[in-house]
């Protein structure tokens, strides 16, 4: 069976690098993007199992990525990361069917556990 594909979108390069490093160790195929536009283009040509996206980004922001992904690729689960511990944003994300919502600083183990759960649900 193919590796699970995970996309990470965050305008902080270190977040992309660290997520990639850690998730690849878990055996996932990881692609990272510093902004949403090329990421959405990539999604059109390649199916991803999980999209981890930052909430606040220049241009297309995390909420728009969430809505687009859920609409166009309903099998792909979205995990949102945000620097703003913002209740409104969390509620809005939940309404748009986000899989999980992490405030920064991110606990990588929790993120990995959350990805694990999402994949298990997908396989059920």
């Amino acid at each position: 069976m193919d590796k699970y594909r995970i996309m990470v979108i965050d305008d902080e390069k270190i977040v992309c690098d660290m997520a990639k490093m850690s998730l690849e160790q878990e055996g996932y195929e990881v692609e990272t993007f510093l902004n949403a536009e090329p990421a959405l283009k990539r999604l059109a040509e390649q199916k991803f199992d999980i999209v981890v996206t930052d909430y606040k980004m220049k241009g297309i922001d995390g909420m728009e990525v969430l809505r687009t992904v859920r609409k166009l690729y309903p099998e792909t689960r979205v995990i949102m990361i945000t620097a703003f511990a913002n209740l409104d944003a969390a509620i809005e994300a939940l309404r748009s069917d986000v899989h999980d919502f992490f405030p920064k600083p991110v606990k990588i183990k929790e993120l990995k556990a959350s990805i694990q759960r999402a994949l298990e649900e997908e396989n059920r």
Binding site: I14, V15, M21, P105
Partner: protein, 472 residues
């Protein structure tokens, strides 16, 4: 000299003049009284002398021996009355003339006595008697006339002196009051100018020497006051800055989250995969940590920089840098509020002479106001360009917010005027206004309710040190 002293001096002078004139008049009056007293006595004497001459005539005409006795008695009476009032007479005509009078009287008396004793009518003796009598009368009348003339002269003199001294006092009073009122007006004008310049926010006080009079005291008081105002304004600027710092801190806290998250993630991976990482990987990761720590340091430094109280420190600066620094401070606040920013900075603008921190404070205030005026999704337009006549540089801070009602426009720069309810101190714009004014520039506002507000700052272009763009 103090104005009070001037007035006292002129009063003292006038009083002295009046006393002098009064003394002179009194003196004249005394002399006049003496003379008049003499004239009165002399009139009596003249009457007596006339009677003597009449008796003398009777003697010569009718050979009446008794007439000689009459003359003798009259001479004795007259001598007695002269002796009784000799003090008055000598005061009026002098001791010499009194002696002369006595002498003439004595000679007349001797002539009468000889005539009576001889009992004969000797022509020579008769001539002597007549001559003595005539001389006596003539002297007496002459003296009287002289004294009368002197009285008239004294009256005329007094009149003249009183007349001139009256005009002298009047002229003196006019000159002195004119001088004093000119001095007062001049000082008042000076003070008026000073008060105006203070009301325009120029707290430099009186330059140069302060007069040593009452107005000098007032000017010193105003100087103290304006120094006090300057201190208060600095305190106000600082307190306002601390107030906006509260808002900034919220933004900065978020700004810190990203580098902290990065460090945290690096650390988590470092611990988790330590054994898989080679030496280069580890060094690379720690360098990234260091970079993120510097990023945090930079944010903290900016914040500290902004909050520190500072003496106004004018430097030549590029306004675009200042606008960018201000925007950087506010970026997170803008992000949180979901406000888009449109920046349009004209390159190559002439430099300005500003206190960078104070102008940053003004821009932060204006941006903050813009953010508060807008709902999420609004756009903040920041632009710089050259002023219309090239003497100024212009900064526009435009928002797409709710706008300011026309009835508030004229009040928005007033201290403590706020439309934000309990949330606002009403000091932000007034402090900003003061800062820009201190820079020799001005702030104006245009607003349309429902479509947005534009604040425009114009700052004078820096023309080099010799032009002296003023001190704060």
């Amino acid at each position: 000299m103090k104005i009070e002293n001037n007035i006292i001096l002129s009063n003292v002078f006038n009083i002295a003049l009046i006393l002098l004139v009064g003394f002179f008049a009194l003196q004249n009056l005394n002399v006049m009284l003496t003379k008049l007293r003499f004239v009165e006595i002399a009139d009596d004497l003249n009457a007596s002398f006339l009677e003597m001459r009449i008796s003398e005539k009777n003697y010569f005409l009718y050979g009446d021996e008794a007439a000689l006795f009459e003359i003798r008695d009259k001479i004795n009476n007259t001598m007695e009355s002269i002796e009784a009032v000799k003090n008055d007479i000598s005061r009026a005509i002098g001791e010499g003339n009194l002696e002369k009078l006595r002498d003439y009287l004595k000679r007349y008396s001797i002539a009468v006595e000889e005539m009576r004793r001889s009992g004969t009518r000797d022509i020579q003796m008769e001539t002597m008697l007549r001559a003595a009598g005539r001389k006596l009368r003539e002297f007496s009348e002459e003296t009287t006339r002289l004294e009368k003339r002197k009285v008239n002269e004294i009256i005329a003199n007094s009149k003249k002196v009183l007349f001139y001294s009256f005009w002298a006092i009047v002229a003196m009073a006019i000159v002195v009051s004119h001088f004093i009122s000119q001095k007062i007006l001049r000082s008042l004008r000076e003070i008026e100018k000073l008060a105006k310049s203070i009301s325009q926010g120029n707290f430099s006080g009186v330059r140069g020497a302060v007069p040593a009079d009452e107005f000098g005291t007032v000017m010193n008081a105003i100087n103290t006051m304006s120094e006090e105002l300057k201190t208060r304004e600095e305190e106000l600027i600082q307190s306002k800055k601390l107030a906006s710092l509260g808002v900034l801190t919220a933004g900065v806290a978020h700004e810190l989250t990203n580098p902290l998250n990065n460090i945290s993630m690096i650390a988590q991976n470092f611990v988790e995969y330590h054994d898989f990482l080679n030496r280069e990987n580890r060094i690379e990761l720690m360098k990234k940590v260091e970079g993120e720590a510097e990023r945090i340091q930079e944010i903290v430094r900016n914040l500290l920089d902004f909050s520190k109280p500072k003496e106004a420190n004018l430097r030549e600066a590029d306004i675009n840098d200042t606008v960018q620094k201000s925007l950087a401070l506010m970026q997170n606040t803008l992000d949180i509020s979901n406000i888009e920013t449109s920046l349009s900075l004209r390159p190559g603008l002439p430099h300005v002479f500003i206190d960078d921190h104070q102008i940053q404070q003004v821009l932060v205030n204006l941006i903050l106001n813009a953010v508060h005026a807008m709902s999420p999704g609004g756009t903040l337009y920041l632009s710089t360009e050259a002023g219309e006549n090239g003497d100024t540089v212009r900064i526009d801070v435009r928002d797409t917010g709710k706008g300011i009602p026309p009835e508030f426009i004229s009040h928005i720069f007033d201290p403590f005027f706020t439309t934000k309810g309990v949330g606002g101190t009403g000091l932000g714009l007034s402090v900003s206004y003061g800062i820009v004014k201190n820079h020799g520039g001005y702030v104006k506002v245009e607003s349309t309710v429902g479509s947005g507000t534009t604040f425009t700052i114009e700052l004078p272009v820096y023309r080099g040190k010799e032009a002296g763009n003023g001190q704060i």
